[in-house]
Amino acid sequence: MTEATTSMRSTASTRLGALAVPVACAIAIAVLGPLMGNYVSDFVVKVMILSIFALSLELLVGMTGLVSLGHAAFYGIGAYVTVLASGSEGGNLALLLPAAMGAAALYALFVGALSLRTRGVYFIMVTLAFAQMAFFVFHDTKVGGGSDGIYMYVRPAIGKLDLENRMVLFYVVLASLVFTYGLLALVRRSRFGAALAGIRVNEQRMRAAGFPVYGYKLAAFVLAGALAGLAGFLLASRDGVVNPELMAWHNSGEVLLMVILGGLGHLRGAVIGAIAFTLLKEIFSTHAVMGPLADHWQLTLGIAIIVFVALLPKGLIGLAKRLSPKEAA
């Protein structure tokens, strides 16, 4: 056997290895779905939606090195468009989903085209400001019911695929998560993903090598916006209600935290971060665990964020690596 084939085999096996765990998890969730009680399955759906949202931001922060602090805008727009376009008789899933993702992508094109002209801290500020602009459009005008938001009368459906049904919603959300994860895994391995990684490491060099850096970054920004719109669509379908708080900057901060908490630069990280963050928030606001402190979960969450970032700069994945003897050796 030549050296080349050995190395090809080993890369093929590590590729399989990298995907084996996520695939096994997806199958386990699919099988366990009908066995879960209402509380557990609601929680799992919530975490899966947030995972999609966090994965879409990982494309920007982890893969491209663009720290956006306004990602909730695209999530919120996806959710709003879903409710606004569904009308009182309920909308067609096959039309609403592309509409939600398209609207989010369109706003991402506008925001990205402008904010990518700046860099670093200024990029952070500009993305936050544009998200706030979207927030004010829905908060101050009657387009989406003002600060109270609007209800969705009938959930999206297409034939038998009716999101009103809890189990259907569960599997649609799971399928969306698998789709997003798979798509981003493909992007990572593609030439496009390699270019994004190059931009993250050294933008000047990529430009000197003749890459249209701005175009690549804009494409990543629009794709991330569309995927956040997908998460927004699912959220609106689950809750049946939207309000401007979805776009508030706290939401942008939380999703950024999920990505960091899990571990930057790994798709798994975004999902682990979403799970850890949601669990943490759930625990901090549960009276049975925290006692009277549960009413002040923002305080404990704030302190936890500070401690986490201080002690785990590489996220939970970094912690796992530090603890494993293989890496230490």
Binding site: M133, Q298, I303
Partner: protein, 290 residues
């Protein structure tokens, strides 16, 4: 709109712009010199406003004395906060600074909710600043707003003087461009940073105290002022004090007149302004091209 109303709105714009400049100058000082992106800066403004709410009844008509006391308290708070928290952030990258100061906002907001609750409060204008200044029958303008503008102008001029004309200012400017050089010259950089940070906190808190009698004191006021400050830093340009002043006044005008002409869409006026500036000059009005 008649001439009197127009004049009043112009004065309001300038007054609002100057107030924003006061907050933004603290933000720029901290970012420009220490390189820390501080999302909690808006919280210092909020803390100032709540301080005015708490201190006003104690000081009665001694409003100026109250401002001095508030500034001292805020500076001490800033000094301690730098020592306990921010001094650890200098070595971290921007992403981690963003998250940790975001955590700090949650802590401040919740502490405020525990200590003062979530109600909206008003702060009374001191008696000697009550009433309005009348210009014939063209217009009348509240004395307090004139006082606020004057106070901001004095502070901005004072800041300019300190940064450009004093020994401390020289050290600050040197520290901003080359930290190691300043340390090499035997200057205590740690102490310098602590003083600059305390000054930044004091400026934001002072702006909050001055604003309190005009706008009510309410939760979330920190977040809204922070985001507006970001907008004007982007408009003004990187590291330019003149740019920040120009942007503050522009934002003041756009916001005030936006509320008069387009009540519903007033919130997005300043973001449109930001978008236009980014299209035209991505580096900001007075910024250097990167």
């Amino acid at each position: 709109m008649d001439f009197g109303t127009f004049l009043v709105q112009c004065l309001n714009s300038v007054q609002y712009g100057l107030l924003l400049f006061l907050v933004a100058s603290g933000l720029t000082l901290i970012f420009g010199i220490m390189g820390v992106i501080n999302l909690a800066h808006g919280s210092f403004y909020m803390i100032g406003a709540y301080m005015a709410f708490a201190l006003a009844p104690l000081f009665g008509d001694q409003f100026l004395l109250m401002l001095v006391a508030g500034v001292v308290l805020a500076a001490v708070f800033g000094y301690l906060l730098e020592w306990a928290f921010f001094s650890y952030l200098y070595q971290r990258d921007h992403l981690q600074q963003v998250l940790m100061t975001y955590g700090l906002i949650l802590v401040f907001e919740e502490l405020r909710s525990i200590l003062v609750g979530n109600d909206v409060h008003g702060v009374k204008v001191p008696a000697w600043l009550d009433g309005s200044f009348a210009l014939g029958n063209v217009m009348s303008y509240p004395w307090y707003r004139l006082f606020a503008s004057a106070a901001c102008i004095v502070l901005a001029a004072g800041l300019y003087w300190v940064v450009n004309r004093t020994r401390l200012g020289m050290m600050i400017r040197a520290g901003a461009s080359n930290r190691d050089m300043v340390r090499g010259l035997g200057i205590d950089v740690k102490r310098l940073y602590r003083i600059v940070f305390a000054a930044g906190v004091a400026l934001a808190a002072l702006a909050g105290m001055i604003a309190a009698p005009m706008s009510s004191v309410y939760p979330n006021m920190g977040a809204s002022v922070l985001i507006i400050c970001f907008v004007l830093v982007v408009i003004g340009g990187i590291g330019s004090i003149t740019g920040a002043l120009l942007a503050s006044l522009l934002v003041g005008f756009v916001d005030t007149f936006g509320k008069v002409f387009f009540a519903d869409l007033a919130g997005i006026g300043i973001y449109l302004l930001m978008a236009i500036v980014l299209i035209w000059k991505p580096e900001g009005l007075m910024g250097r091209r990167p």
